[in-house]
């Protein structure tokens, strides 16, 4: 299997000192176009793993390879979305969406001259997530779920090869969350982007992902890897089948074991 994202024997300590490692001897591989989910008890270093994979943090030891290149600085082929949508309140939703294009090349130098084309692209994205015509609203005029949809659009506007989602639905109510699962599912199917989703919701992980990694408590490492082979496109109904429940149950077992070991 050729890996698109590969972490090999990675150990990371915050602050670069001799403190306790956040992740230790962490190894995982994610294929191109795959949807991977990472689950684990809270504080296990899931978010650290994400920062390592995008080059926001440099590991103390081990190697991180993305798209065949070793990661030594923030890589520009990623889009990110967090639990907190972090929209800039002084920009309209549309202007927030265009923000990555003001930074990432080649869009940065083309943005001014091809404004209409990019605005059309942003409006198209808004439409696919059910926010048609909302571009002129300020983020604080949108509900939490709508802000999160807009945040997903922003993470995709520059057509990244890799999408990193750090508990993006953690702060939303259960119904909104399931709606957004379907939004993400469709975006992934349309764009063939590689997705790494960090979550503590096992149903979310199993519903969305092709491959689920379980992390141990701090220092985090991968204790289990489970392929999920339900046919795509998946319907929310799949979450009520016994097969689905069995996988969730199995993962639940790994997490419990990890929590007890801690």
């Amino acid at each position: 299997m050729t890996a698109f994202v590969e972490l090999h024997d990675v150990t990371h300590v915050y602050g670069g000192g001799d403190g306790p490692p956040a992740v230790e001897a962490l190894s995982l591989k994610v294929r191109e176009g795959e949807f991977a989910a990472i689950v684990g008890p809270s504080g296990c270093g899931k978010s650290t793993m994400m920062k390592l994979a995008t080059g926001l943090q440099r590991p103390k030891s081990g190697t991180v390879i993305v798209a065949g290149k070793q990661v030594v600085e923030p890589i520009k082929i990623t889009g990110m979305a967090f639990q907190n949508p972090v929209m800039l309140p002084w920009r309209t939703t549309l202007e927030n969406l265009l923000l990555p294009l003001e930074i990432v090349q080649p869009h940065r130098s083309r943005l001014r001259s091809h404004k209409a084309e990019y605005v059309a692209r942003a409006e198209g994205l808004l439409e696919t997530v059910g926010l048609k015509g909302m571009g002129s609203k300020f983020p604080w005029q949108l509900s939490g779920g709508m802000q999160q949809r807009a945040s997903l659009c922003r993470s995709l506007i520059h057509e990244p090869k890799l999408l990193m989602l750090d508990e993006p639905f953690g702060a939303l109510d259960a119904f909104t969350r399931e709606e957004l699962w379907c939004v993400i599912r469709d975006l992934h199917a349309q764009r063939g982007v590689t997705v790494i989703l960090v979550t503590h919701d096992l149903r979310e992980a199993v519903f969305l992902a092709d491959r689920v990694f379980c992390m141990s408590a701090r220092p985090g490492r991968i204790i289990a890897e489970r392929e999920v082979t339900f046919a795509r496109p998946r319907d929310l109904e799949v979450t009520y089948t016994p097969e689905f429940a069995a996988i969730v149950h199995e993962l639940r077992g790994h997490i419990s074991a990890a929590r007890q070991a801690a």
Partner: protein
């Protein structure tokens, strides 16, 4: 009348009530006009000394605006510098606090020694007294960028300059305007102190001369003019603020 009309009228009503109370207190308690002149006496002085008040007020406004302008430029630059680097923040903090603790009245004689009597001491006093709040607030605005926002920007490959211009500066604007309203009144204090000690012009100088003549109504008239000038400049800052950072007052806009 509706609540919103009352809200609009409130500033005028309160001001009128304040002066009526003042007038009433002077009459009821028979306070000597030499201690506290009633508003009617101050009004009379305002009319009598219209011309000198007008020219000196214009001079003070000019001195203050100049000093205030300097402190915006300098305060903004230093605030951006201090807010963007933890090292510079740690290094400059005690110096800034120490400098701000110096009474600026004590600085005026030094300015006179350096520049002589004239327009420079009031301008510089207004400047040194008013830049500190701007530095502190702009630095705070920059230093409190959410880490997630920074991560989003960095993961896109944004440079420090990108983060500063696209996030840091817009984000610190509400802090800047908060500081400007404090600074503008401080700048008046500064320019008047400067004029009292080192100028032949301006309201500060007028107050010094009026007190030498025991012309108490004129002193009060000059103080009232200063207050009006202060309200005037703060109102300008308010208008600019609403234009530029309306997003920070979202609850009001949400109701509109």
């Amino acid at each position: 009348m509706t609540r919103s009309t009352w809200l609009k009228l409130a500033p005028y009503l309160f001001t009128i009530a304040f002066f009526l109370l003042w007038e009433a207190a002077c009459r009821v308690f028979k306070i000597s006009g030499f201690i506290l002149p009633p508003p009617t006496a101050i009004w009379a002085a305002l009319l009598q000394y219209q011309k000198p008040l007008y020219t000196n007020a214009f001079h003070t406004l000019w001195m203050t605006s100049f000093g205030f302008g300097l402190s915006i430029v300098f305060g903004l630059a230093l605030g951006l510098l201090v807010g963007s680097s933890k090292l510079i923040y740690a290094g400059l903090n005690p110096l800034l606090v120490g400098f701000n603790s110096i009474p600026k009245v004590a600085v005026v004689p030094i300015l006179v020694i350096w520049f002589g009597v004239g327009w420079l001491p009031p301008v510089l006093t207004a400047f040194v007294i008013s830049f500190f709040p701007i530095v502190v607030n702009v630095a705070t605005g920059l230093a409190t960028i959410e880490p997630e926002t920074e991560d989003v920007m960095k993961a896109l490959g944004a440079s420090r300059l990108d983060i500063m211009t696209k996030v840091g500066i817009p984000r610190s604007l509400p802090y800047l305007f908060g500081a400007l309203k404090v600074s503008i009144t401080l700048a008046y204090v500064g320019s008047v102190i400067g004029e009292q000690n080192a100028s032949n012009l301006g309201l500060g100088n007028l107050i010094t001369r009026a007190s030498a003549d025991f012309n108490v109504p004129l002193i009060f008239a000059a103080l009232i003019v200063l207050a009006i000038l202060g309200v005037f400049l703060v109102a300008i800052v308010d208008i600019v603020e609403n234009r530029m950072t309306g997003w920070a007052k979202r609850s009001q806009m949400g109701n509109a």
